[in-house]
Symmetry: C2
Subunit: 440 residues, 2 copies
């Protein structure tokens, strides 16, 4: 009966069977040390020469071979104890069974790799404690998002990704040949979320979305997982901000319960989420940038990355918050469905959430009136006829509503202080790469 | 403060505020009855002429208008009580506030629609108790899949859908123009699941997959949500079948806890899942088909839909089970990564799970040895070079492993006895339709 390596520390003196990958092997002639890794951890095993068969196998095996090892769990003598998770135990090997061999590795496992080599060899390079930790946290984030929204009476929806018209108005989309018809990959589940407010009032989706952006930056990838929710019968965008605020409180609680070990390993703090995340209008934020940082961007339509970094610094300093909402982006900068503030014409009831120097969410109230929306579509120079399916939701009555969209990979990167989003994405798609480098 | 309609029955005699859609309106001159629908249910409200302002509004409003209604919850006189969920209460309306108007509906809401009209008007036609129930159940299924696997120490992964080579060998895939490069939409997350067994041992994914199948049947759609898991260190395919068996027990328990109301509304039984789902080899199944149903298909490579229906009937009769595993499909019929049974050459350690007349899962053990897999790829007439990224997982050591893939929409259809899978898919993509009918 196989046991996990993490449970060995409770089995001192017992005979056990473990299975996993050879993480490292040190041959001291008579003694051969094998570090074995499974999904739960790493442990040192030692093969003594008196276990002849095991010693023969231990001579053969190499890093990343998959083996089953039987042996006895011993406490290590005091002076040998290391700071590793299983530093105070060692497995004395009685028998080794080889499950799978591996070819010679292209580089030593603890070599510092450049990003391209890391990406070229993902099936191998993802096999480290650090990468396991990153993607464990990511899995926890997406499930926390769902758990929270289910607890708030939201219903999950499966939004299609092959679409006939683009939610954001047509820029930067991938084309799909759909049985000879023009079609695109969705840049967000926006339309379907809104349609489904008409059915369930409160809905969420977690699925892949696509941006055919040609630039390669440390914060963009071409396919990512989008966390989206949308809810009806709201007073205004502040109801959405409140819901998101509550989500982040839920998330950090979940991370503390389930991923403490991963954050410690990666040497990152789980953020504190204020009861009320500070919020200010874009106009106000631009005034602060001018006054505090000497940056004259007053009247610009959006924030630059550097502005976002400064505003996060400011929020940290002034409000003791890693998070800050910036609201009221101009109508011309937001998608056609964005709700214009009656009391601040030209500006929208929309927001971005900034966190540790970057925008991680876009959200807001949407237009719910059919005639208003048709007008807004026309104002953007688009043809309402193309949106006839989507427009049905409004034609046949939709309440006030709004929601958010958030990239799972960017959020993971920010939570874990990972500089390049590609390292917070399992198999990143970028302009020159789909797994392997593209020829063209 | 808005309350949900489902909670009204606990508020008899109280003044409340509810919001929702006008589900129906009956004008009796002095009395106007409005059925109001929200995410939680439907209730009858009555507007008396003495509430003049409300009466004026009630004269204006039409089906699917979105309104806020204030009033008092009254118990209905005994003889008026209906069998509806809120049949014993009625809201006496004091005030109505219109949130959104709706244009005239294209048909009466309770009209029996043909499938095409239903699909043409999804933003409207999804707004029924029955459709709410179907997609509530679907949301519950996908979350139960995740909850179960997390409880079994699986880690969720985000598998990319834009791929350079196809898991199943190239047939029936959609092409994507990826910055001028050839690329495809994934037919399954198979390769990435297997790669990730090397990282986490046990992984799952719930995401969209694509099949460019040109036929339009009642059991195929071109984009669907695939529920996938993959696990390492297995003895053989029976470990996978056991895990799936346990999932279905978990699922039906979750459905009984969370979706009893929906199953009752749809008049369907939640299935019972045996402790051990019966299992037989394909060869044996074909013999039974011959003996019991006079169908001579012995030696054929796969089962026909009618065969699957008969085998489910047989399983029900002989084993009192809605479920039956069929194992050992021929090597030539299964993908290149399928594990051949050493003791039954020519046949694989793979299986289908049949449920209520149809195959709902394909699964099995996979080849884990690099050299074996390269040989198997070549045997299928494919070029291993094309699979070099995927093959790294094997090159650098992978344990015995296997898993399953299962279509969420087909499972939903079978659970709810829905004849056509398009009615168990929110926004089905089919050869002639992306939301609206295609021109070509």
């Amino acid at each position: 009966m196989r046991i996990y390596i993490k449970d060995l520390k409770n089995k001192i003196g017992e005979e056990v069977s473990i299975s996993g990958w050879v993480n490292g092997r040190r041959d001291h002639g008579k003694l051969i040390f094998i570090d074995l890794r499974d999904m739960s951890g790493v442990v040192q095993t030692v093969v003594l020469p008196n276990h002849k068969d095991a010693h023969k196998e231990a001579n053969l095996i190499r890093p990343e071979w998959v083996v089953e090892i039987k042996g006895k769990v011993n406490a290590r003598p005091d002076k040998m104890i290391t700071e590793d998770e299983n530093g105070n135990i060692e497995l004395e090997v009685f028998g080794i069974k080889i499950i799978s061999e591996a070819k010679e590795l292209p580089f030593e496992k603890d070599t510092e790799l450049n990003l391209d080599t890391y990406l070229d060899y993902l099936p191998l390079t993802l096999r480290t404690k650090e990468k396991q930790a990153v993607f464990k946290v990511q899995a926890c984030v997406v499930q926390a998002f769902r758990d929270f929204l289910i607890s708030e009476d939201f219903t999950e929806i499966q939004a299609p990704k092959i679409i006939g018209a683009d939610a954001e108005g047509g820029a930067g989309v991938f084309e799909v040949d759909y049985f000879g018809n023009e079609s695109y990959l969705a840049t967000s589940p926006q339309f379907y979320k809104q349609i489904m407010v008409g059915v369930f009032e409160k809905v969420f989706a977690t699925g892949n979305v696509y941006r055919a952006e040609k630039h390669s930056t440390s914060r963009h990838i071409n396919e990512y997982t989008s966390l989206d929710f949308e809810m009806g019968f709201i007073k205004d965008h502040t109801d959405i901000m409140e819901m998101e605020n509550k989500f982040f409180q839920f998330l950090t609680k979940a991370l503390k319960e389930k991923c403490q070990k991963e954050f410690e390993l990666l040497e990152v703090e789980i953020p504190e989420v204020p009861e009320n995340i500070p919020s200010m209008k874009l106009k106000k934020a631009q005034e602060i940038l001018k006054k505090e940082y000497g940056e004259d961007c007053v009247g610009e339509l959006d924030l630059e990355p550097q502005h976002e970094r400064w505003l996060c610094e400011y929020s940290q300093k002034e409000f003791n918050s890693d998070f800050i909402f910036i609201t009221h982006y101009p109508v011309e900068k937001r998608p056609m469905y964005t709700y214009e503030d009656e009391n601040d014409k030209g500006f929208t009831k929309s927001f971005d959430l900034l966190f540790r120097g970057a925008e991680i969410t876009t959200g807001g109230q949407r237009i719910h009136d059919y005639d208003e929306l048709v007008k807004a579509i026309e104002k953007k120079g688009l043809d309402p006829e193309k949106f006839s399916f989507y427009l049905q939701a409004f034609r046949y009555g939709l309440p006030t509503h709004g929601g958010i969209g958030m990239g799972l990979e960017r959020l993971t990167a920010k939570l874990l202080n990972i500089k390049n989003i590609k390292e917070a994405t399992l198999f990143p798609r970028e302009i020159n790469r789909i797994d392997t480098l593209l020829n063209k």
